[in-house]
């Protein structure tokens, strides 16, 4: 499980493609895909380089003018989903 104090980065070998307003992320090993919306795509872009989860949440809360607690909860759930597919990894705790 990823926590707010972790620093994470996305897997650079993952194949992705923009499609209309979605981002398609491919899980090659399973032959499956994940379609994520604009906010998910913004997170994916933000974790191209190692970033602290707290910093990520702060940035998204500012960008979307949303309550930080709600954003934090949604971001952690999303990152856990990505991590379960091997699409992100923790680089520092």
């Amino acid at each position: 499980m990823i926590s707010a104090s972790d620093t994470i980065v996305r897997d650079e070998t993952t194949l992705v493609s923009a499609l209309d307003d979605e981002l398609i992320i491919i899980d090659i090993a399973k032959g499956k895909y994940l379609a994520i919306d604009r906010i998910g795509a913004a997170i994916w872009e933000a974790i191209a380089q190692p970033v602290a989860v707290e910093t990520l949440v702060d940035g998204l809360a500012d960008r979307y003018a949303a309550p930080r607690e709600q954003i934090g909860s949604d971001v952690l759930a999303f990152l856990d989903n990505l991590a379960s597919r091997g699409l992100v990894r923790i680089v520092a705790e």
């Binding site: 194949l15 493609s17 499609l19 209309d20 307003d21 398609i24 090659i28 032959g31 895909y33 379609a35």
Partner: protein, 262 residues
Amino acid sequence: MILEDNEVALAEARFDRPPEPLRRFGIIAASARTGSHLLCRLLRQLGRGVALEYFYPRYRHAFEDRWQASSPGDYLSAIIRNRTAGGVCIVKCLPRQYMALRGSIEQVAALPDPFIIHLWRRDSLSQAISLRLAVQSGFWNFTPGPTTQPKGAIDIMDLDALRATRRQLVVDELLWRGWLRESGWPVIHVCYEDLIADRGASLQRLIGWLEPGATPGPLPELPEPATPSALHARQSLNMAQRAELAAAYRAQFGHSDPLPDP
């Protein structure tokens, strides 16, 4: 003009060949509506393999019965034994068949000088429209009749369904790119739009890659026209109507042709 050596006919025993030594084994890695039927025919006419979708279940069952192949490895060996031409055996493969093909490859001792021809299409929206029209009509190429059961209930103008089809085609293409990266086999990328615009140039490039220093010989004169308009006449939308549908899609969803050249 109707093709006599269409994909359905090519599964028949009259296209089996006497065994010959295998010089190269190849895969045409394609997604739906990327010109694979045309490319398979061109290569066959040039004497390079009898490329066909051998892992399409309907064909596979018929081949396994005829060639008495009982295991995945047996099946691939039987394809090579019966469908090698000019020392080349080529299997056309769609993403959903790749795992089965790979399983067969793993059971065969060694395949000489393997290669992959990756067919892809830049305009995934046109590709999706083409696929839905083929499924609806049952006409996938110039056959005397439909080769799949027509699905008249499909609403071609349903933009959400078109979007879902397009998404699946993009996923298929991304899967290929990932698998090709992992395969370790040499790959040549052939784009549908280039193949349709100038099949001679595409074929010369391909033959030059397959057989460095060799001349491809005279290019085959195929009965089918250079543009797919004759096929469109068998389906429910002509070229102009397809353009109108694409415009309606872009108006609703925007249009980002998603994939850069591989």
